[in-house]
Amino acid sequence: MTEQDLRPDSRDLTATPGQTVGPFYGYALPYPGDNELVPPAAPHSVQFHGVVYDGAGVPVPDSLIEIWQADETGTVSRQTGSLRRDGFTFTGFGRCEVDPEGRFSFSTLNPGPTEPGRPAFISVVVFARGLLNRLFTRAYLPEDAEALAADPFLSSLDPADRDRLIATREADGSLRFDIRLQGEDETPFLRFPGHVD
């Protein structure tokens, strides 16, 4: 099949619409070890956690969070095995169904910057019953103040929004990142080129 055969002019290449994940993903999308990018007892393991809230400030009990991130050296993993974890391969992908109080938690590593001088972040996707399409956001690590200050995207936001994208390092070393779907403290969600919503 030639490249040409793959894209005849008549083909409709408008993106297929998304739809809500609905209420019943819970027996389908979660899998054993889905939120353990590294085993919780692994050296350097970090808990990345938070609560998903709705516009009334009430925790959302039927949301699913996915993360995708580089390893500690800033390397993007090309390793397979996210669905059948072997306990030592870092694949960079994780999935977590929130608990009845809207809490999610991943066992992972602090990502390193993928380029020197860039602020490191965890890429986050949010799905929920009642949410008609997925939402993208980023959870930046709080430590590298210089890189955060120099980042063109973060600098394009108003300071309160910028702060909402920076995770909090808690006393126990964990990273906290709450997600607010609506309201005063609404999490900034991202639109990438090619996205129309």
Binding site: T16, T91, V125, L190, D197
Partner: protein, 266 residues
């Protein structure tokens, strides 16, 4: 049992007529905007009041424009060690044959340039032929099929193709309003070559009489865009004395990595 009433804290008493009037009003205002020169919408509205659960769960601020960073220009890699060989056939996962109309759903996953998305994970989940999910929250008094879990996974082929054998799901009631029923659908979860292409959606079956009444389907305000979620019956996919065949192709949002020459996977 058949007359058992669904009730719960979020049970709504509004009529289908009320909901349908809201749906029609939004559709008409979208059509008027298109007639006045605005581009037709192609994705669901996040703020779509007829879907009552969306009221407090949609962002009210515009999304912030972001150029994808390196991590977002890649996607998680999935391989054959991630998936069992039986996972794409939902009719052979238990001890016996599930009840219902056996179907094959097949198609291709393409990016916005029409290039196949190869070797990527496709996940599906669905109700059984009676409209019941194997989920503890599903209270619909329809029978559970002990031979059907309704969960499938597969990897796309080199040409972006995927294929599932399953049972045609039934429509099911839900609590958005009084006598609310979802058109029969299969939930799909898709990854592209970039994380920015991640999507979850629902595939529907042609000619469903519930389309006009369903706020989730109608949250896509343009008919042409809604039609992209409806599979096509294909007699060439149908197998003699075995199953009915449906085609459904999926196009992900455009690929940003087009401009990067480097591809460092091994």
């Amino acid at each position: 049992m058949g007359a058992q009433k669904l009730s719960g804290p979020d049970d709504a008493a509004e009529s289908q007529a009320t909901l349908s009037a809201e749906i029609e009003e939004i559709e008409a205002s979208h059509a008027a905007a298109v007639a006045a020169g605005r581009p037709a919408e192609t994705q669901p509205r996040l703020d779509y009041p007829p879907y009552r659960s969306s009221l407090l769960r949609h962002p009210t601020k515009d999304p912030r424009h972001a150029d994808p960073e390196t991590i977002e220009l890649f996607s998680p890699a999935f391989g054959h060690r991630d998936i069992g060989i039986l996972e794409s056939d939902l009719t052979v996962q238990a001890g016996g044959e599930p009840i219902g109309e056996r179907i094959k759903v097949t198609g291709r996953v393409l990016d916005g340039e029409g290039r196949p998305v190869a070797g990527q994970l496709v996940e599906i989940w669905q109700a059984n032929s009676a409209g019941r999910y194997i989920h503890k929250r599903d209270q619909h008094p329809a029978p559970i099929d002990p031979n059907f879990t309704g969960v499938g996974r597969t990897l796309t082929g080199p040409d972006g193709s995927y294929s599932f054998i399953t049972i045609k799901p039934g429509p099911y009631p839900w609590k958005n309003h009084h006598n609310a029923w979802r058109p029969a659908h299969i939930h799909f979860s898709l990854f592209g070559t970039e994380f920015t292409q991640r999507m979850v959606t629902q595939m529907y079956f042609p000619g469903d009489p519930l389309f006009a009444l369903d706020p989730i389907y109608q949250s896509i305000t343009d008919q042409k865009a809604r039609d992209r979620l409806v599979a096509t019956y294909n007699h060439d996919v149908t197998e003699h004395e075995f199953l009915m065949g449906y085609n459904w192709d999926i196009v992900l949002t455009g690929s940003n990595r087009t401009w990067m020459e480097e591809e460092d996977h091994d």
